[in-house]
Symmetry: C2
Subunit: 209 residues, 2 copies
């Protein structure tokens, strides 16, 4: 597959042949997704365009539309990739002692924010969700259905969903103040010190009577 198909050709040549060279088309798709994550991250949902994503990926816009469809669909795909690390949170919560579920979840979530590679796409989601209703709906659906409800299901307690959301609220707020707004001393505090303070709160929300 070429990186730049003819400008007015909505279908890239490889697909037309029926069987695209698997590794190369996967590579192009991944490159577009990576570019989409960076564009959404840098500009937010509203100011990102399919044209801009295509340019950053070094491909024609038609190829972006071919693989993903509309801008909203590119965003959804980018979000799901960006969210992939977070989607393991329910497993992190499930494994091990119930008494340490708060620490496991706190360590897991702040670990994702601490790492620039996983933070950048998360920041893109937060920025977009705060500013745009379409993006907020995608975020809400993904977070509620794939993350909070799965964590809640493992708690087997009354109000499990509200519990998971209040725990998430503490973690979301920490991430906002530490990594986005960068309020001091929280922004520069040692991660272990924050975990020590926050984990008992998360534990309490999740499992306290």
């Amino acid at each position: 597959m070429t990186a730049s198909p003819p400008a007015h050709d909505p279908e890239p040549p490889a697909r037309r042949r029926g069987r695209p060279p698997r590794t190369e088309s996967a590579g192009t798709r991944d490159r577009i997704l990576a570019a989409a994550r960076e564009e959404f991250s840098a500009r937010g949902y509203e100011k990102t365009s399919v044209r801009g994503i295509a340019k950053a990926a070094g491909v024609d816009s038609a190829l972006v539309h071919h693989y993903f469809g509309t801008k909203e669909q590119v965003f959804e795909a980018a979000i799901e990739v960006a969210f992939a690390p977070a989607l393991n949170a329910p497993e992190a919560v499930a494994e091990g002692s119930p008494d340490a579920v708060g620490e496991r979840l706190t360590r897991f979530v702040l670990g994702i924010w601490e790492n620039p590679t996983t933070r950048t796409p998360l920041l893109a989601i937060v920025r977009s969700a705060v500013n745009n209703d379409t993006a907020a709906a995608v975020f809400r659906r993904l977070v509620a259905a794939q993350l909070l409800r799965r964590i809640a299901a493992q708690l087997e307690l009354p109000d499990a969903e509200l519990r998971a959301e209040l725990a998430a609220a503490q973690l979301v707020g920490c991430a906002m103040l530490r990594y986005v707004i960068k309020v001091e001393p929280l922004a520069s505090a040692d991660l272990e010190q924050i975990i020590a303070r926050v984990a008992p709160v998360v534990q309490g929300h999740l499992t306290a009577p």
Copy 2:
């Protein structure tokens, strides 16, 4: 003072006369500030223009520049007005029993978010701070210096600033998930139920040994 001074006249007539009619100029200034809050709220910092604020207020752009200066300065003025209710939080924390400081702060902050009149400008600040570094710096300065440090000063405990920030993180996260992203069941939950769950956490952050 006229609502529409000549387009290329940087100074409105009233000021030039030395003594502006006090009530009318205060009214115009307030109308510009109210329009600025609405514009920043609806569009965020980056997409708001002085021209747009002037149009919404029914005045000429020159009058906006005359009263406030640059767009950043209009934003700072709008933020300070929007933040005025929140700036009473340290007093709310200070009055009454130290054992109920968590509940007072929680009730105070969520009360501001619960009321659409006070929520709209706060939402504007959050949206802008998440998206724009200039806006984030204004927010950080205001929140850190005027709010969190004043609350911390009343705690008279080690790590008082970090304590205030972690308490704020729980409240910021609740506001984000309930009022901005609108995750259910948190978004529709009874306010008193949320206060009952969140207040002990805020109390713990602020005063636990």
